[in-house]
Amino acid sequence: MKIEFRKTNHIYMKKTPFETHALRQVSTTFPSGSTTAIIGQTGSGKSTLVQHINGLLKPDAGQVIVGGEIIDRKAKRKQLKTLRQKVGMVFQYPEHQLFEDTVEKELLFGPLNFGLSKKRLLKELPDRLAQVGLDETILSRSPFELSGGQMRRVAILSVLLMKPKVLILDEPTAGLDPKGQEEMIKLFKGWQQEEKATMILITHEMDEALQLAERLVVMDKGKIVMEGMMTEIFAKTEELAQFGLDIPESVRLLKQIEEKFQVTFSSYQLTPAQAAKEWVKERNRKGLTPHV
């Protein structure tokens, strides 16, 4: 499903002392089936932008077009509601999306609404829970009495169970332990390839962006300031720095090593094992131990 922003504006609490102009004339397209990461400093408008795609927010001016559905200032409630069925969103804070009194009800709520069979869902659940690193004992518990990371896992699963056409992930791995982060990135990737869904990921972890997305959008003060293929944008270190952003940790480390120890890596997308081998080989070739 294709998503288009056309000169979209959003102003929070208009005509009050609290007025905040959060989106300024944003125009961009997320092609159907594409994977895009959105990065940008705190308060730059990332969450505001994506909340227009699932109908949580309406533009104050301009349009958002989601799979042919045109959303503007005058969009009706019903229209926004249909969006919510096509667009799944994992919220920045999982507490903001959980509302049932048990995890089981939480997970079944959406799918049951779509008329899926309860019996089948219940049979599926143990496997699906395992995919997000949880087990069945959690089903009878209150989602609000879980640890932060457990809550996050429930929120992610409840969205995936709805099989949305568009998947929006707003900092989905914040609060997950490293193993959970790794597993969830794999899960999102596999899911996206299988469903051919349009996926949009907001993240502060550049390595995560690199692993999950092909396109990158950079936001600053309510505007899109850079946009393009991942590798293209991450090559522009200085421009990124202007917006207070950095290249991925792995790339930065390899560049640091190159500079400090006069080595040249064949690429910046090496696994740690590959990088170690290349570094050692280069040192042996030079026949000396590198010195500072």
């Binding site: 804070y93 879980l146 707003d170 914040a174 170690a276």
Partner: protein, 272 residues
């Protein structure tokens, strides 16, 4: 040695007959020490953190803050004043309609004068860069802005011990660096710091690394031993961040000179 936080064989469960969430947690944290806590989701880190300012009391065992047991009512106000806690979800911390009032609220309770309050608000607003947010509603901020405000609210109270429970998880890389710099300064001033995080790099800044597993402490080492203890983390299937993984690869190739050069590089880049 002055002990700031003494945790004496603590057991905890949320419900009678429920599962133990903390099981025999035992450690002493020295005054001025900076301790990093890591562990899998649900291992008990936040529960433990809440023991340190008497939000929860041990089911068994005892927690003492500067020698005062947390289960004695008469010490409660003093303990709350000494231990500041930045919650995993900042929404849990906000009580007032504007950021300014929210920061003031805690200080009012502590009985500070108006002048002192204004001065401290200005200072912390500068420290965590939230000047332009002071007149906004805390609940209507972006995710990262909320975390900054939550940190400012605690700093204004000038506690002796600060517990950060994943306090930078939603900050952009620069914001995280700034906060870590700030924590470094607090540490230099002699504050005791307990920091829960999933970022192994942050441990390098601290004095001590504690790994929690199923309500228990399974690793407790000075951070000077962190590099040599990486195999232990690998055995526990903790994926290592890129730079630590590269370090391990070099050690596995017996390139110890190179791995120490990398370690040095990592430590240098922490100071930037």
């Amino acid at each position: 040695m002055e002990v700031a936080v003494k945790v004496d064989h603590v057991f905890f469960r949320y419900e009678d007959n429920g599962p133990w969430v903390l099981q025999d947690v035992h450690l002493n944290i020295k005054k001025g020490e900076w301790v990093t806590f890591m562990g899998r989701n649900g291992s008990g880190k936040s529960t433990f953190a809440r023991m340190c300012n008497a939000l929860f009391l041990p089911t068994k065992g005892r927690v003492m803050i500067n020698g005062r047991p947390t289960d004695k009512k008469e010490y409660l106000p003093e303990i709350r004043r000494q231990v500041g806690m930045v919650f995993q979800n900042p929404d849990h911390q906000f009580v007032a309609p504007t950021v300014r009032d929210d920061i003031a609220f805690g200080m009012e309770n502590a009985g500070l004068s108006r002048e002192e309050m204004i001065e401290r608000i200005n200072r912390v607003a500068k420290e965590v860069q939230i000047h332009e947010l002071l007149d906004k509603e805390p609940h209507r901020l972006s995710g990262g802005q909320k975390q900054r405000v939550a940190i400012a609210g605690i700093l204004a109270l000038e506690p002796k011990i600060i517990v950060f429970d994943e306090a930078t998880s939603m900050l952009d890389p620069k914001g995280r660096k700034d906060v870590l710099q700030l924590v470094k300064e607090l540490h230099t001033k002699g504050l005791t710091i307990l920091s829960v995080t999933h970022h192994l790099e942050e441990a390098l800044l601290s004095d001590r690394f504690v790994y929690m597993e199923k309500g228990n402490i399974s690793i407790d080492i000075p951070t000077s031993e962190l590099f040599s203890s990486l195999p232990l983390l690998e055995k526990k299937q903790v994926p290592l961040p890129y730079r630590f993984a590269l370090y391990r690869q070099l050690s596995n190739l017996d390139e110890h000179q190179m791995s120490s050069m990398l370690e040095e590089l990592m430590r240098e880049s922490l100071d930037q």
